[in-house]
């Protein structure tokens, strides 16, 4: 029982990272139908910005978090403007290949500049362990930080999407781009804003992971990026609550599998879930089923 509880706790902290990343995927997919392969690398850049801010500039945790979110947001907007906007009317394969190219470019440019070695974060937060059930279940303050920050960001996101003008514009554009344009919505600005918000969340996830696992490297974004996309599909792509649920569930399933079955198969679990969900319910847990348009 205690073991299960511990695994679930670990799963929730891992899952909230996936959820933060999955939100970016799902928002971008909802608005321009693109699997933004570069999203995982924005997360990596976010971790590196966090590293620079804390280790080199000596900033504290919160300023570093805000800085890394801001720079990630700018990076996301730049990527959209340079690589995706010129291709908005071309085939989806072309767009997807561009996204892969962008992802490779970010990874290896970082590797070229920062070197391929793993770096460790300085301790910016005092890590305390809180024990429950006579020491059998532990939760670290870092896990609490991850949870609290993710929840706050998700509430903020819900507020932006549901209550503000730009959020309304985002919902309108994802529903019907042409009709939104006819209603006087600036589609380019809206898509830019979507990338900015999604990338800021990825940047936040990057710095949280950097501090939690205490190591960052230029290729750290690939696997979490793919898994977060899977989490978005799992929850129903295009749906914001779906991305949160999908991310949390994926994190929990993954820790349970590595805890109870075989940790070597941890990375395969996500892909197995993906294939099962695509075959059984391609629209995901909370997604809407859309018919095929001729």
């Amino acid at each position: 029982m205690a073991v299960l509880l511990q695994q679930l706790l670990n799963g929730i902290s891992l899952g909230s990272i996936y959820a933060l990343l999955a939100l970016g995927y799902t928002m971008v997919y909802g608005i321009i139908n693109l699997i933004n392969f570069a999203h995982g690398d924005v997360y990596m850049i976010g971790a590196y910005i966090g590293f620079i801010a804390t280790a080199l500039l000596g900033l504290g945790f919160i300023p570093a978090l805000l800085l890394s979110m801001a720079i990630s947001a700018l990076l996301g907007m730049a990527i959209e403007k340079v690589a995706y906007r010129p291709l908005r009317n071309s085939s989806r394969i072309a767009l997807l290949i561009t996204a892969i190219g962008m992802s490779l470019l970010l990874e290896y440019t970082t590797m070229y500049i920062a070197g391929p070695d793993t770096r460790s974060f300085p301790t910016v937060l005092t890590n305390r362990q809180y024990s429950f059930m006579s020491g059998q279940v532990n939760i670290s303050s870092m896990q609490l930080y991850i949870l609290v920050i993710s929840i706050m960001l998700m509430i903020l996101l819900q507020f932006i999407v549901q209550r503000t003008k730009i959020g309304k514009a985002m919902r309108a554009v994802s529903m019907d781009k042409d009709a939104a344009q006819l209603m006087g919505i600036n589609v380019d600005t809206t898509i830019s804003a979507t990338f900015a918000i999604g990338s800021a969340l990825a940047g936040a996830a990057g710095i949280l992971v950097g501090i939690y696992y205490n190591s960052i490297d230029p290729l750290m974004g690939i696997t979490p990026g793919l898994k977060a996309f899977i989490a978005a599909v799992f929850g129903g792509i295009g749906s914001i609550p779906g991305a949160m649920v999908g991310g949390l569930l994926l994190g929990m399933i993954e820790t349970l599998v590595s805890g109870y079955l075989n940790s070597n198969y941890r990375d395969a679990v996500a892909f197995v879930i993906l294939i099962i969900i695509l075959l059984i319910k391609p629209s995901g847990l909370l997604g809407k089923n859309t018919g095929e348009k001729v």
């Binding site: 139908n33 693109l34 699997i35 690589a83 010129p86 291709l87 071309s90 085939s91 989806r92 394969i93 072309a94 997807l96 290949i97 561009t98 892969i100 190219g101 962008m102 992802s103 490779l104 470019l105 990874e107 290896y108 440019t109 590797m111 070229y112 391929p116 690939i222 793919l226 996309f229 899977i230 599909v233 075989n262 070597n264 198969y265 990375d267 395969a268 996500a270 892909f271 197995v272 993906l274 294939i275 695509l278 075959l279 391609p282 001729v294």
Partner: protein, 318 residues
């Protein structure tokens, strides 16, 4: 008709000449070990690129899992020659067939998916294949399988490469190939013209996987050594870049793409990071300025060479 025959004779003569010249260069040691390694790698890449082009370029099914099929071929061949001591021709046939069977198995369930969902599902399947290979101790697990007997020589690799190109070329120019191209252009329209979409999609996947299996077998029995991480996501991307660079829908384009990128990695092998940056920039520039690739869906041919570049450009833009 006479034109066709002349072309056929010319093609046969060219192939024979390529074979003979390189065989001579190898036997006189002008092509040394290092060059030969890259030449063989080039041929394996050609097989991979041409077979992926059948799936992605001609049938329009975006696959990010080609390295998975290659891995199946490589491991089957390695186990048969190293562990079971079977002759190489049997091993290469078995690896092609087993990769093709996996191709069918992948093809059937993923038929319901299209575009990016298919891409991500094939990527997932090839990752699953890699992770399973990592966890089987019989085939070496993460540390890999060493001392695989080297059976592959120039005649083998030449025959397989030429065979792949000829078979896929003829497939594309048969009624089957035209059905595949129709699916790529518009699958709903193709279906309403009476084309059995499911059948042709599976066929394309199976044939593509078959040849990727051959490529894997050649790889295993030339390089002595296999490890699962050589067949990861990056390998699939590598093959895809070759196909996209040469032109989705052009077989000679894939050959050119494979040659160009193998050469690029040969020249930049001491600077792997720079190589990847160039790769990425290449992908972006191609997609932004020439999304149809170097050759588009035109083929390099005798006619094209004669007419010169100007007309070639005109055919491409059609």
């Amino acid at each position: 008709m006479a034109d066709k025959r002349r072309n056929l004779i010319r093609n046969i003569v060219t192939l024979a000449a390529i074979y003979a010249i390189i065989q001579l260069l190898i036997s006189f040691d002008i092509i040394d070990q290092h060059l030969q390694l890259n030449l063989f790698l080039l041929c394996i890449n050609i097989i991979l690129a041409v077979s992926l082009n059948l799936i992605t370029g001609f049938t329009g099914q975006f696959s990010l899992g080609h390295a998975g099929f290659m891995a199946i071929g490589a491991y089957v061949s390695a186990v048969m020659t190293l562990k079971l001591h079977l002759p190489f021709p049997l091993a290469i046939a078995a690896s092609a067939v087993s990769a093709a069977i996996v191709g069918v198995l992948v093809g059937i369930p993923t038929l319901r998916l299209r575009g990016d969902y298919l891409a991500i599902a094939t990527l997932g399947l090839s990752e699953i294949i890699r992770i399973i290979a990592l966890n089987i101790d019989y085939i070496g697990g993460a540390s890999g399988l060493a001392d695989i007997p080297r059976y592959v020589n120039w005649p083998w690799i030449f025959a397989m490469t030429a065979g792949t190109i000829i078979i896929i070329y003829n497939f594309i120019h048969s009624s089957y190939g035209r059905a595949c191209i129709a699916i790529r252009e518009d699958d709903i329209a193709a279906e309403s013209m009476g084309i059995d979409i499911a059948h042709y999609k599976i066929l394309a996947f199976t044939i593509g996987a078959f040849f990727a299996g051959i490529a894997g077998s050649l790889y295993a029995n030339y390089f002595y050594f296999l490890k699962p991480n050589a067949f990861g996501f990056m390998k699939s991307i590598d093959i895809l870049v070759m196909v996209v660079f040469g032109g989705l829908g052009s077989i000679t384009g894939s050959v050119v793409g494979a040659a160009a990128l193998t050469l690029l990695s040969m020249v930049l092998q001491d600077l792997p990071t720079l190589r990847m940056i160039l790769y990425a920039l290449l992908l972006l520039v191609i997609m932004l300025y020439r999304p149809q690739g170097l050759l588009g869906n035109a083929e390099l041919s005798w006619k094209l060479l004669k007419r010169g570049d100007k007309d070639a450009a005109a055919t491409n833009s059609k």
